[in-house]
């Protein structure tokens, strides 16, 4: 290939990419903004939601593991009851805060209809415990 052709092709490629890259900035002033990408800086609710959901997940996993550990004989009844109550109390707290956070918001992803699953069972158990605590004044 002739040198100048290849240089031209290379420069053309670069110019095209520069145009592609700066385009969002050139459109910056326009309304409506084409890039509504960041939430309000003061709004940390999604982060909080993420934290709570992950915590709930970790706690459910812990409860599940605890059941397994009991069934497999790794811990005694007494340890089990104490830890189980502890994790449940925490799960209740997390669920309560999730409720607060989602007030007025529809449940976006409905839990799967896998009612027989272990997770669902634990979730229901925690739910019951939660209703029991919230109905009785603390």
């Amino acid at each position: 290939m002739e040198t100048w052709v290849s240089v031209l092709v290379g420069l053309g490629l670069l110019a095209g990419l520069v145009g592609y890259v700066v385009r969002p900035i050139l459109r910056a002033g326009r309304q409506p903004s084409a890039e509504p990408w960041l939430p309000d800086p003061t709004d940390t609710s999604t982060e909080e939601l993420a934290e709570l959901l992950f915590q709930r997940d970790a706690l459910l996993a812990a409860l599940h593991d605890l059941q397994m550990d009991l069934q497999m004989g790794k811990i005694g009844e007494e340890d089990f009851r104490r830890l189980d109550a502890l994790y449940r109390a925490r799960a209740v707290e997390v669920l309560r805060r999730l409720d607060e956070l989602q007030e007025g918001e529809a449940e976006i992803a409905p839990t799967e209809a896998a009612e027989q699953t272990w997770e669902a069972w634990i979730e229901r158990a925690v739910e019951r415990a939660r209703q029991a605590t919230s109905s009785s004044p603390t």
Partner: protein, 670 residues
Amino acid sequence: MSNIGYLSLLGALALSVYATLALFFGARRRLPELIASGRRATIGIAILNAVAFLALEYLLIVQDFNVEYVARQTSIGQPLFYTITGIWGGQEGSLLFWVLLLSLYTLGVMWVHRDDAPELMPYVLSVMNFVMVFFLVVLNFSAPPFRRLDFVPVDGQGLNPLLQHPAMIMHPPNLYAGFVGFTVPYAFAMAALLSGRTGATWVRLSRRWTLIAWMFLGLGMLLGGWWAYNELGWGGYWAWDPVENASLMPWLIGTAFLHSVMVQEQRGMFKVWNMLLIILAFVLSIFGTFLTRSGVLDSIHAFAVSSIGVYFLVFIAITLLGSFMLLYDRLPLLKSERELDAPLSREAAFLVNNILFLGIWFTVFWGTMYPIISELVTGRRIFVGPPFFNMVAGPLLLVMLALMGIGPLLPWRRTSWTHAKRHVIPPIIFALVLMVVLWLVGVRRWIVVVAYGVVGFATAGHILEFWRGWRAQRARSGSHPVAAFFELIAKNRRRYGGYIVHLGVLLLTIGVIGSKFYEQVVDITLAPGERTHVGEYTVQFLEAEGSRDQIKERVATPLHLWKGERFLGTLVPSLDYYFKVPGGQRETEVAVRSSLFEDFYVVLTGVNRDGSATFKIFINPLVAWVWAGSLLLLFGTWVAMWPDPREERILERLRAREASRRSLLGTSQA
């Protein structure tokens, strides 16, 4: 073509600087347009890197020997496959391959997490682009792949025939994919610190990327060992060579990280520790490239000559300093949520595990760097060979295996001796019985007996764990026994995937111990037609046959092989002489007959004037177990990596929420 490649690399460098800054300030100042532009620049870098890579590939295929790199990596008559893959055979090309991989990882992260964690992702991409800047600086200024010679050679040197082996071709890409891959969890960790979002999100999002990098690194080491065994003809697969150590070090720290990050997920502890580990794992992957590419291991003086080493050293220093300063600044965000409760708990086991992994890493590090350190301190180069590594890392690995047998038996938080005992005693009994049996069948080296005892203990522990889990699962779900087994794994992918990895490690260890302590070597010379016995085997040498093609001469010496009365087949060890390589080069082609319990491994050392041939024969026990264990390890990683539906559901929910907020924002602005 070389002009296009040259311009692409220069453009990619400019764009990567821009992308790093745009994404960083876009996130800091909350300028969505700037972030969008930075994301586009990231795509642009990938395009330019791909163009540069393809340009070099094109030059290799058309064999434009005027380009120095092409003249070095290919020659007339070299198979096209090795010409195409020769691109990562040398320094410049492998660095180019490296930036291409980094681009692919960056695009992958950007795409997979396009709707995740909008506060975190710009920083992640910014950090990845920062790493990109470094490699592009090296490529543009220190190791330019498109440099032309001032003459046109008649023919190129070609890829060294020793490296022309399928495993050796796949070995570097896997190692690089592993090395580069550690950039991703590192970038997530730094992004968490930069954005202040140090919660669970970054850990969850980066976990699978860490596993991917870890898996590729392991696969790279496996292929390297496989190549050494089948190609180099010294009967082994691991030599504690600095290049091997360079890939082992980030792998060890990565393993420690994978374990201790579970404690952070489950218990909210070890947060600072995990940050330190991931910084170390990343720096070690850069350091690995530095070790293998800078020549520092040959001599400090060689290091001063090659400028690429200085670039790497500066980058490592900047990375370490920057990461630690940032970490120090954000320490208040990383307070442990809980304290360690009891020494008899899974988290305590993980802590010991971490200490051991760090100890093994430090041993490897110190042994590898000792010549350099001693030369700096005393002016005399002192080095340590494989005995040092075996002596120091061996016992640590044994303790680690013992711990691996105990850890899974312990629950989180705490347990009591009475319950722990019930789980630990059966494997101990099994181990003791195994040791006695080994002794009775004639294994008299106490170290081997102990080592197999430990392996037996851990294996029994894991199998019991599977069995107990399976029983519990059956009781709970009432499924068919076979179905229950798969349910158990499917419902606890991470846990049982991890156990499968452990079993792989145990198989591998069985192979390593056997082949290390019971290798037999004999040298024999056979006249044509002569037969001899080697252990239980009988070999008969037929006759040497010579042949010649475009690039090499070959002498092959077929051998018939029997075990007892059973004919096993014909082995053809041979010697090649590559006359095209400057100065000529000899290459031994090993012949191996592999079976479950031992490998019959023959190296032809020479053919004599009288037509007789001399062979070096290795009988290597249990080598097949090394490969089998490695494959099981990879399979387990794959199981553990499989997406967890519950986690997916959470991420889905968060994405949906973001999307609804975004559309809300869009309508309010309109």
